[in-house]
């Protein structure tokens, strides 16, 4: 074996981690909590504080908190004022999502599989809550079964991947069509949409519609044409320089003024427009980061092949650039999802707005903590799921590790 081969051999076998040292409980305590006197003090201080906080919180959650307020308003918090007799449409929407999630997890496994598992777990938890109605339980059980069936179908027929992708693409229009009715079913105005449903809808609409706008702004900012470049820079910096709440006020108060009397748009759509314009500026900056990470060679190679700039961008540059910034984009979406709670300030009844209405109801006096903690918990669960997905995607794509 000559030197060259030896080197290759070295490269092929990865360096093994040192064997795990097994230590006892006392050793572990000594090493992790009481290694020096400073550490001992730290442990005592942190221990006392966290013990007090934990003890009081658990006591409060189990004995003092009046959770009946959540039980009584559960439907309101989740779907708002949506009429009870039309609620089946919301359930159909959820079922469509379940089918798509089940199929995708069967076909691609990985991150989407984990997410589907978490969603199924969530269904189970809601199923076990003592106060949900029988109808809800039946729908949830149906949904769990559907996820299982579509998972099996997806696993055995991976040729369904195109259908599933088309399904995801069509999901938003179908959901909005179902919720609104549009003449086929009874019309349910957006003023009746609310609760967590509205939160999700605003976030998804903002994300979907800001994508094309964000890509154009990112390309515009790198354009060689000065007017387009300066317009993009101006737009991005203006939006990023002001708080979201002012943009929501612009959308609520000034949009009707600017569009004149001929164009009527309702509150919810105005908020969605505001969010889309806001998200696009931040998304553009993320995408620009991705574009900057593409090496010059890719541009030159595409030009050498004689591709024009549209083809070059759509098929060579953008796919690579977007792939590089997927984790950053997921991070942005978590932020947008959290920010949708701001619509409560401009008078929409998203989950937080409903919460605010509940505590002003004299029947539920003094239950602010319970209501807002529930709202916080809902956001916490969904944001954690998304950040988990983002971390997994990051390692799966190998971004930043090359």
């Amino acid at each position: 074996m000559n030197n060259e081969e030896l080197k290759r051999e070295d490269l092929r076998t990865p360096i093994e981690a040192p064997p795990k040292a097994s230590i006892g409980v006392v050793e572990w305590l000594k090493k992790n909590l009481f290694s020096s006197w400073i550490n001992t003090i730290l442990t005592i201080v942190f221990g006392t504080i966290s013990f007090l906080i934990l003890k009081n919180s658990i006591e409060w959650v189990i004995f003092k908190a009046e959770w009946y307020v959540i039980a009584a308003n559960f439907k309101l918090l989740i779907v708002g004022q949506y009429p009870l007799e039309e609620l089946w449409r919301v359930w159909i929407c959820l079922t469509i999502v379940s089918i798509l999630m089940g199929l995708s997890s069967g076909i691609w496994k990985g991150t989407i599989g984990h997410l589907t598992m978490m969603i199924t777990g969530l269904y189970f938890i809601i199923l076990l809550l003592p106060f949900v109605s029988t109808e809800t339980r039946i729908w949830l059980i149906v949904n769990i079964i559907i996820i299982g069936i579509s998972y099996v179908i997806g696993k055995n027929r991976s040729s369904l991947n195109k259908v599933t992708l088309i399904g995801w693409a069509l999901m938003l229009p179908i959901v909005i069509f179902l919720l609104d009715g549009f003449g086929i079913f009874d019309h349910v105005g957006t003023n009746l949409w609310g609760g967590f449903l509205l939160t999700l809808l605003i976030a998804v609409v903002a994300i979907v519609f800001s994508f094309p706008l964000g890509i154009f702004l990112a390309l515009g900012r790198r354009s060689k044409l000065p007017i387009i470049r300066w317009f993009s820079i101006g737009y991005i910096e203006l939006i990023r320089g002001v708080p979201l709440i002012t943009i929501l006020f612009v959308a609520q108060l000034m949009l009707p003024l600017f569009l004149g009397n001929d164009i009527e748009i309702d509150n919810v759509v105005r908020a969605m427009v505001g969010f889309t314009l806001f998200t696009a500026a931040y998304l553009a900056e993320n995408i620009r980061g991705g574009l900057q990470s593409i090496s010059r060679g890719q541009f030159e190679a595409a030009e050498a092949l004689g591709l024009n700039s549209t083809v070059k961008m759509t098929f060579i540059i953008l796919p690579q650039a977007l792939r590089a910034v997927i984790p950053a984009i997921v991070g942005l979406f978590i932020g947008i999802f959290k920010d949708t709670s701001l619509v409560a300030i401009v008078g929409l009844t998203d989950i937080l707005g409903i919460g605010k209405n509940i505590i002003s109801n004299p029947e539920f006096l003094g239950t602010q903590m319970e209501v807002f903690l529930f709202v916080a918990l809902v956001f916490l669960i969904f944001c954690n799921m998304m950040s988990y997905a983002s971390r997994r995607l990051e390692s799966a794509l190998g971004v930043g590790k090359r």
Binding site: M254, K338, L352, C383
Partner: protein, 392 residues
């Protein structure tokens, strides 16, 4: 010759020199047309409700009062002054918030990398909870459930007899100015300068001679000497302590923290600190392991390594994302509007509902935030340059 003839034969819509100009002209025309369309619509709708554009309303009397103010303001003052009060309140929240969030963020960020298991776990739980819930929900929890959840003023809770918590506000001990405060301030500055110079000189001597010169003791000594001289001259304490006392229907003395301000500040600090903690952690992790090992090999101790080896290198990585967190904090302070605290947006909403001048009010608000954002990024860029210069 050949070139020229070929260029004359290409039609202008395929000419590489003309297309970009054409595209830009078309784009500019579309943008201008859209702007004109929007603007004429706005003017038409304004005319319909009998209003014109203009900022003359700023000189009119504002018939509302502002609870928390840094400068004198009453309901007979103008709208313009109301805006200034609002801007000052925004700056107050942002300034205190940035300082506290930075301190808390650094502590949590360092704790996340601590060798102490408990500190690490507590810090991680803190970050995960506060980063993944919306700021507005946190503000609502602090405002409705905590600050407004305190008992009424006659039954207010108190801690150590000097902190009082009631649903009308939290009262804390505060300081009053005495006649000798100015003299004390002068001596304080002199003392600081003196001890700094002494410290530098002793450090230099220590480096040159290689012997211990105790620079830190000299600096503290100089400071104490100046302060003792100041006390001998004035024979008075620099500030008078104003303790709150319960007096019938309110409190005398102390400083009352308005519930809206309290909720906003606590929520902003806790929320932003969780992001700063992650930035600090990332910055520290980015310092290569060899640096720490080298410092250990030189015999430096844990805190010294952190202070002299890790943080100076980590700070360069930390500053750019930290800047954007500061900007976020300033922008997020606008959520005060939701808890009835009268800062810029809060004042803006009140003025807007009184005068109906949405375009003017919103443009004032937007321009103010833009200039504050630009100013902060300018400051942080200067500091960034300064900290980068330390490199070769």
């Amino acid at each position: 010759m050949n070139k020229q003839s070929s260029s004359t034969s290409t039609p202008f819509w395929r000419d590489k020199r003309i297309i970009p100009i054409l595209i830009q002209i078309i784009f500019a025309v579309i943008v201008i047309l859209a702007a004109v369309f929007l603007f004429t619509n706005a003017l038409a709708s304004l005319r319909q409700i009998g209003m014109t554009l203009g900022f003359d309303f700023l000189g009119k009397m504002a018939s509302f009062d502002i609870g928390d103010k840094l400068i004198e303001f009453s309901s007979t003052d103008t709208y313009g002054r109301a805006f200034i009060v609002g801007i000052l309140n925004t700056i107050k929240v942002a300034f205190i918030g940035i300082i506290l969030a930075t301190i808390l963020g650094f502590i949590v960020g360092v704790s996340r990398l601590s060798t102490n298991w408990l500190a690490r776990v507590v810090a991680t739980v803190y970050v995960e909870i506060f980063r993944n819930t919306p700021l507005l929900v946190q503000i609502f929890i602090w405002f409705y459930a905590v600050f407004l959840g305190f008992p009424t003023i006659d039954k207010s809770l108190n801690a150590f007899g000097i902190f009082f918590f009631s649903n009308r506000g939290t009262v804390i001990p505060w300081f009053g100015v005495t006649p000798s405060s100015l003299i004390w301030l002068i001596f304080l500055v002199v003392g600081l300068v003196l001890s700094f110079i002494l410290w530098k000189i002793r450090i230099k001597q220590q480096v040159e001679t290689g012997k211990r010169k105790y620079p830190i003791y000299y600096a503290i000594g100089a400071m104490i000497t100046t302060l003792v001289i100041a006390w001998i001259i004035t024979l008075e304490s620099p500030l008078s302590l104003s303790l709150p006392t319960f007096a019938g229907r309110g409190y005398d003395g102390g400083y009352t923290i308005n519930p809206g301000f309290g909720a906003l500040l606590v929520a902003l600090v806790m929320y932003t600190a969780s992001f700063i903690a992650e930035i600090v952690r990332g910055g520290i992790l980015a310092v290569s392991k060899g640096q720490v090992e080298a410092a250990k090999a030189l015999g430096l101790k844990g805190p010294t390594i952190l202070r002299l080896v890790i943080l100076p290198q980590a700070i360069r990585i930390i500053i750019p994302p930290l800047t954007s967190q500061y900007l976020n904090l300033i922008k997020n302070s606008s959520l005060a509007a939701a808890v009835a605290y009268q800062e810029l947006v809060g004042v803006g909403i009140t003025v807007l509902s009184q005068t109906g001048r949405s375009i003017e009010v919103i443009s004032i608000v937007i321009l103010t935030y833009l200039s504050m954002s630009l100013f902060t990024s300018l400051l942080m860029n200067i500091y960034n340059k300064y900290s980068q210069l330390v490199e070769r």
